[in-house]
Point group: D2
Chain length 365, copies 4
């Protein structure tokens, strides 16, 4: 299995890139959450391909059609289902790839996993297009989390070698997250943004691609979500972050850097601020012993460079075992990181909703 996630509510995602449609179902989503269509469409837009995000044409293309679970402007508590049509498909481009698995893609592993039966067109169920329903689900979860005083946001921490200014991990204002959400590129430092865009242009010209890192934060988190031992908050969140295509690493707080610190430096000192327990640093990323501390949750996801590059590559012909040149046709982003922020946020928002519902149940007012 693979397309259902959650312990305390369930997200199911379905669809193939060039099939009859893609979509998702949210089962166990709380009742009574106001359905803010404008917000949801703006989230869908952040992920959508192409630049001119205000165009109506774009919106129609990735317009989520909600079939159930919303009634008179509010969630019903019964399954929310959403279907997004596949419109602009050019399946002809991909036929050649069945025997020529693209390097860095799931063409070969998918073939083994599904006995050669999976839909290869446009990557099928493996397509990055499947992140559209994830973003829809994340938008719904953000609406729920907002009703509980939480907000999820992110920025592009790096593209290639270029790094953005990191979050101030002990104090991330809601306004900053909202500003990043509405920027064309969610980057804190404008100079970093220019350097990143330059790098992407160079990669495109070189028929190559680039990866990067998304840094995501959740603020307003109540202390006490998550569990020790086998199901810590980090494990719950990471299990869904690795579901974002191309993510190969996940770290919380100081993450891999904490491994090079001394304890006296890494330990976050506790203080009381306006009657609230906080820490002066946040090297643990808002989670201690698998349980949220009330500090911002800070998590970074490493995204590999788009494996589909325009440059000729060598690959194996599975039919005859020979290594042969391959040119991947079709339209491919030289850097998906610029569109990855809402997807990473969606994964985190879904995981946070699951953690919240574990603590408070569906009957909480």
């Amino acid at each position: 299995m693979g397309s259902v996630w959650g312990n305390n509510f369930k997200l199911t995602i379905f669809g193939e890139s060039h099939g009859g449609g893609i979509g998702c179902v949210l089962d166990g989503f709380p009742a009574g959450v106001a359905y803010d269509e404008e917000f949801i469409l703006s989230e869908m837009d952040r992920r959508a391909p192409g630049k001119n995000r205000q165009s109506t044409a774009r919106r129609e293309k990735d317009l989520p059609k909600v079939l159930s679970g919303v009634f008179e402007g509010k969630t019903t508590g019964t399954p929310i289902s959403c279907v997004i049509e596949n419109t602009d498909t050019r399946s002809g481009d991909y036929r050649n790839l069945i025997d020529h698995p693209r390097p860095g893609h799931a063409d070969y592993t998918g073939r083994i996993r599904f006995h050669g039966c999976n839909d290869p067109r446009g990557g099928g169920h493996f397509s990055g297009r499947l992140t559209a329903p994830l973003v829809f689900a994340g938008a719904m979860c953000k609406l729920f989390l907002r009703s509980k005083g939480m907000a999820v946001g992110s920025h592009i921490a790096s593209i290639g070698q270029i790094m953005d200014t990191p979050f101030d991990d002990v104090c991330i204002p809601a306004e900053q997250l909202e500003t990043l959400r509405t920027q064309q590129y969610p980057i804190i430092n404008p100079r970093a943004q220019q350097a990143m865009l330059d790098q992407i242009d160079q990669a495109r010209e070189a028929l190559d691609s680039l990866g990067g890192i998304i840094e995501c934060a959740v603020i307003g988190v109540p202390a006490g979500l998550g569990s020790p031992m086998l199901c810590p908050a980090e494990g719950r969140i990471s299990s869904l972050l690795f579901a974002v295509p191309a993510v190969k690493g996940v770290e919380f707080g100081a993450g891999f850097s904490i491994s090079a610190m001394h304890g006296s430096e890494a330990n976050d000192r506790m203080i009381l601020e306006d009657g609230v327990v906080k820490t002066e640093t946040n090297n643990n990323g808002g989670i201690l012993g698998g349980i949220t501390s009330g500090m911002p949750i800070v998590v970074r996801a490493a995204i590999k460079p788009t494996p589909s590059i325009s440059r000729e590559q060598m690959t194996l012909n599975l039919a005859d075992g020979k290594v042969e040149p391959l040119v991947i046709k079709g339209r491919h982003d030289p850097c998906i990181v610029t569109r990855a922020a809402p997807v990473v946020e969606a994964a985190v928002a879904v995981a946070m909703t699951d953690l919240y519902l574990e603590a408070y149940g569906y009957a909480q007012d």
Copy 2:
């Protein structure tokens, strides 16, 4: 919930550091796996505190008592339960900590999560001692995986700033993993080992602690384990790696470094070697699209420095809201990374068993 893990078999871990005992239950573990007690005890020994690992005394202390699930030298297929006694407990040391949460520990978050009812003695259910039953479970899973041609091993990739030679990720011999397993310190490069031990000594003398990174590999993995979308192999493995206390980051293959590569560099080129599909590099760590490729799985876990340090620290007195000095008494390792390798391997072995059983079921011969 938090102490049960698994979709296709279930691991349950229970116990408190100073309670009546700790242990685990493995439900759905395959029938007919030979119970190799010597191997299991050797794994327990790798994790056990203290240096003189050959001593009988040590073995008795962490001796797993198997109550069920093993009959006439083989697993029965019914739940394997194991209890480990708590013997050497000195609860007096920890009483003072209830109102003085230790920085970097779960004292505060545990108190919120469990409404102040959890056992605080020795860290209770949060104690690193709970990794003992995890190592037992991992040892059982290694026996199963071995019967399917797989092996799990690891080395200390770094302690503080000192790095070991990394695995050759396209070819990791079983002998290397076994050698590392039986070394006092699982480090590939002897010079790195000396530098690491020196750093630990310095940290101890400074009443401080150090963190590090464990690099773990699984070899002999069949292609086709795991799933695309929401339950990828990386997500399954990481969800359990974050259950290892002090892990704050997890990465596969080139991990965070892949985010700074170009696609032309990151893409692993496929080849045929002795009739087997392989890749010339392994930047994806043996997993593509959430599914194993047959290449070695390579995963790294970042471990924070032991939060219990001997040096005086400031912390919050939860009773009166004042920041006060705290001296943590008791015996604490200045660097748990030297004992973390078998624990990380255990988490990976348990996750691999779950993935294998999803693919082949309990009825596979």
Copy 3:
């Protein structure tokens, strides 16, 4: 939660009676199963309201639109999603019911459960219409089970006081199940059928309704499916049978009658027949210790009379606490048992698929 089921694959059902559409997702369904559309439509037809089952109009109405998971005539192994439009809805009929919960319906409990937010039109998510996607899922599972040599079938064991001839529980020919499947009414004894139809007519004339019992069988079941203790095959199957609306009792083999037997009578004597272990009787309904024995699984589900009756009833006005007369408008079957057989079979087929996949995994040939 409530609309996701399964351990080894997942069925999700969504939709409201008068909403934008209903449907289901099957995640983890095996790859390579031939998609037999004619069979699926014939199953949908068995459940569909109205009598004239051959009409094209009817087929169009409940036509399942498969959006994903089927490619070139076979299942892909990725999620199968199916949407069924709601066409013939007359929401005006039900507006009055919000403050006047219908006796025997979930109007009141649904209101409490979902904080008054659930869609009340036509019963919303509680509507019997939601059994249509269950029948679709069951039809898919029947195709899979058929490829493994299994068949699921049923008959109306009773309506009101009138009983059909029971299955010969030690030998149920596949032909009998197929004959029942294609009959207008799945009843073995023609005289019982006439008496049942007479009773239904009388109930309709009395503005009342009738219940009944469906007896369902699975043949060709391999021995060894299911588990002892907490997840026995009976428990798995019953957990889904109670999801069929109006089911209030489930029994296996001799069921409640076995409680009045002596052990010497109830114990099924084992024999060898053509090299296969069988039993001379089948009082245990093909399941012993929670595990299938290879004998036919025989299970009965008790279905209550349609709670929507045309006759005036008294109910509580939730707005003012007064007991008031209620007349339920709209079209209601006086006996849903005649349409329940494919739904019960679907629940059993889904559960059997889950049990099979637990044993053999997705990688079985």
Copy 4:
């Protein structure tokens, strides 16, 4: 898998009849529940074999040793683990049974399921003895439910053909449940009790056995627990009731009888009593649309006669395929129904706790 149950907390049961011990783990059990040892031991006593229930000797035999999860008289919220020693084992009796599966037992199905590796001594993991940890878990859950105003109780509704007076299903006083709990035989009607005991004596003398029915009730249930569609309260409860060995049927409210009613008779009319919504009848057993209504939950479980009878039976010799006489040695109850009430109650109490936690979460006060 089979020995882990629960969505919102997890019960794990382990052990074999003649192994090193049996026990259970409760993960996710709420923190802060007072541990009432006397109550727990009294529940264990109700299930324990033998008659002289007040004897200290008996108590020591099935004494649950709690290893974790209870601290200073209250539950900690971390896993509660309990081990019960196996003391009085006579494995010699059962050796003969490996090739001679006992009719009505799981000997054959267990052999297939576990590839012949399961422990056959005393029924191994299939033994009725495994209900002891279930009763422990149920007792813990009853303590929790009590703290929320709920009570679970039962009586022997029938043994063989003799029936007890049923519960008054619209009003079951807590005192009645407590009285039944402390009676030697939980039977309402003393004359029925005498007739039942007579029947058991006759069965014993005839070297035979008898089955029966347990009727169980839960009172004080809040409205709104459970879910529509695939995970109704009936399905959750029944999935665990079928885990009680020998249960072959489960029905709620009027159960199978409701199938012979008219709708006008079956529909429970709603009324307001002291400001609380109730129904004048309770044919739906306190559950409508899969959701609790606030009325008592009434459920009956049909228990087959003990398959181990002293009388000679024919069975198959699996070694040579011949049908041979078998005499089952050892001590066997001619009717386990007299000890089944606390086990059925335990299953229901565990299921109710799961349903409650789904609604209210672990963070509810």
